[in-house]
């Protein structure tokens, strides 16, 4: 078990190193002068000199790389061009909003998706199979800005049930603050749930179908264990393993979805910040956003790995052999 956790942490560390190395190389090896990406016209000669020194642009590439990593360890992600603040200070509060949105969506997706997957597995037949296949194709085909726009149009503009955008009303009383945020969260969360639900249903259903054929399920049934307890107790735990694994792989997609969703709803997270940074060509902010999002995803993937280890006792006995 400890070996397994250790291996996973090492893998997570290597993944993060790969991610930041790629950004380092992209910024410096892009066609044109590497400095142009990080210098803007509005800077004074003094600013430019200070920035060049901070990035170590006068040194060799390996030295720059070492400096880049050292800055990273100290959470120094550079200065935003337009906001004239440290990138880390701009991103930190926004990251909390993004994690709130992604975390809630993921929770609700699993809350609906797993029982639905189990249900469709137990009632399989031509009819349900067709509906599930069609739903899954539609789910992975949705263009997020369109779905989000339709939601805003119907629920905010036509019905007036939900706010058009943002995450909170600025001058709301303390007692109503939570309810206010929840109302703002409804549409962005619904968007992300709709987009990701199909995958969870698909994987839960498929692995449930496989598990229900296993000998130990037949044994349990033969012993007279009731149907409900066989499904939810004996089968689901094993059927969950692929679902949790695919949840880990979905995180990257969820982040991509969050960037688009936040933009449509002006949700004050990292995603809408990326949109603003693109409009203003604020490269340090974009780089910082990627590094922070990559770090969050890698951390959450690690958590799903640990959940898989908890679900699958074979991992506790012998490390790293599981596929």
């Amino acid at each position: 078990m400890f070996r397994y956790i250790g291996l996973r942490i090492v893998k997570g560390g290597l993944t993060f190193l790969a991610a930041v190395t790629v950004t380092f190389l992209i910024v410096r090896l892009m066609p044109g002068d590497p400095t142009t990406a990080f210098l803007s016209d509005s800077m004074t000669a003094q600013d430019v000199q200070a920035l060049s020194a901070a990035l170590g642009l006068d040194k060799s590439l390996p030295e720059q790389y070492a400096l880049f990593l050292r800055n990273l360890v100290h959470f120094e992600l550079g200065q935003s061009f337009f906001l004239k603040q440290a990138v880390s200070a701009i991103i930190a509060p926004r990251l909390a909003w993004t994690l709130l949105l992604i975390g809630t969506s993921l929770f609700i997706t699993l809350l609906i998706g797993i029982p639905l997957g189990v249900y469709t597995a137990r009632h399989k037949g031509k009819w349900i199979d067709q509906i599930v296949s069609t739903m899954i194709v539609l789910g992975i085909s949705i263009f997020i800005p369109l779905l989000a726009f339709v939601f805003v149009y119907v629920f905010s503009l036509e019905l007036g049930l939900t706010p058009v955008g943002g995450a909170f009303t600025p001058d709301v009383e303390d007692s109503e603050r939570i309810g206010d945020v929840v109302r703002h969260m409804l549409l962005p969360t619904a968007t992300l749930v709709v987009v990701n639900l199909a995958q969870i249903v698909l994987y839960t259903r498929n692995s449930m179908l496989d598990v229900l054929k296993e000998d130990y399920i037949r044994t349990a049934r033969a012993k007279g264990v009731n149907d409900r307890s066989v499904t939810w107790g004996h089968a689901l735990r094993n059927a969950m393993i692929p679902t949790v694994t695919v949840t880990g792989l979905m995180l990257g997609r969820m982040v991509a979805g969050a960037v688009l969703t936040e933009t449509v709803f002006s949700w004050p997270g990292v995603g809408s910040m990326i949109y603003e940074a693109v409009q203003k060509q604020d490269f340090p902010l974009l780089q910082g956003a990627f590094i922070v999002l990559a770090f969050s995803v890698i951390l959450m993937t690690l958590v799903t790995d640990l959940v898989v280890a908890w679900l699958d006792p074979r991992i506790k006995l012998d490390a790293g052999i599981i596929r």
Binding site: K11, M30, L286
Partner: protein
């Protein structure tokens, strides 16, 4: 019982055939459309933001240009981007998957770790960074999407290779002294084509969604019409609430493309792996 071929049994898959029909329509639009319709350019002050009517079936945009022309040229851009992305992903993913599946051991493990790492990193923010730095261009976006689409393909080719390499006919081929390269490319790769093909249709679909997403965020090529950039133009000018056609039709085009390719993938998959029991 007669053994029916792939084409015949695919043609019985209703959803798969719907997808194939959709793709034929898109290809016809993207290939032949631009020969008939002139590239929409300039400014037509006579009729900006006209609703759909007989003279302009899908309405006009803020510049008074025909939306249908823009969508037809957008079909060409979408096809170009998705085909380029698939080509790039295939060139990286197939050899890596094949090698890592065939030579298990150290090289296989190493490549597998690289695949896993590449699958974990969230790619959209990285693509945004690259597109922002390199400047908007259809070619760059296409290559970038391809470069980030290979890991799933490599994983799928690897898994089929692992399965195939342990089958008796491969052992027989090795015993017969057939060179490794022939075994890998002829005996294994040809049999791994099916699952890979399914993933290629998904990459086609995802590439168009990603391009539309990037354009929507303002990273589209200003010199090429794409469905995503039509949307971005409409949103940026604030037309979304009084010119519904500017949002609905490009979005429908995107969904039509994506659903068609995903249905094709579904059809191929279910034809190759018929439901047991």
């Amino acid at each position: 019982m007669r053994d029916i071929g792939f084409v015949e049994s695919f043609s019985k898959h209703r959803l798969g055939m719907i997808g194939l029909t959709g793709i034929v329509i898109i290809v016809a639009l993207g290939v032949f459309g631009p020969m008939v319709v002139a590239y929409p350019v300039g400014y037509n002050e006579a009729m900006p933001l006209a609703a759909p009517a007989r003279e302009h079936w899908l309405g006009t945009d803020g510049l008074g240009l025909n939306l249908i022309d823009e969508i037809i040229w957008g079909a060409r851009t979408s096809l170009f981007i998705s085909l380029t992305a698939v080509a790039v992903a295939t060139c990286i993913g197939v050899p890596l998957g094949l090698v890592s599946g065939y030579f298990r051991g150290r090289i296989g493990g190493l490549i597998d770790s690289v695949i896993e790492i590449a699958m974990t990193i969230p790619t959209l923010p990285l693509m945004i960074l690259i597109s922002a730095i390199s400047g908007p261009s259809v070619g760059t976006v296409a290559v970038v999407i391809g470069v980030f689409s290979w890991p799933t393909l490599a994983r799928i080719v690897r898994n089929s290779t692992l399965k195939l390499a342990s089958l008796p006919y491969i052992e027989a081929a090795i015993v017969l002294g057939i060179p490794r390269r022939t075994i890998m490319f002829k005996h294994i790769l040809l049999n791994a084509v099916g699952p890979a093909l399914v993933d290629l249709t998904i990459i086609m679909a995802t590439a168009v969604l990603t391009e539309a997403g990037l354009s929507y965020l303002g990273l589209g090529d200003p010199n090429a019409w794409s469905w995503g950039s039509i949307l971005q133009n409409a949103f940026r000018a604030g037309h979304q609430f009084h010119a519904w056609w500017l949002i609905v039709f490009p979005s429908l085009a995107i969904m039509f493309f994506v659903v068609s390719f995903n249905l094709l993938g579904l059809g191929i998959n279910e034809t190759l792996n018929p439901k047991r029991d």
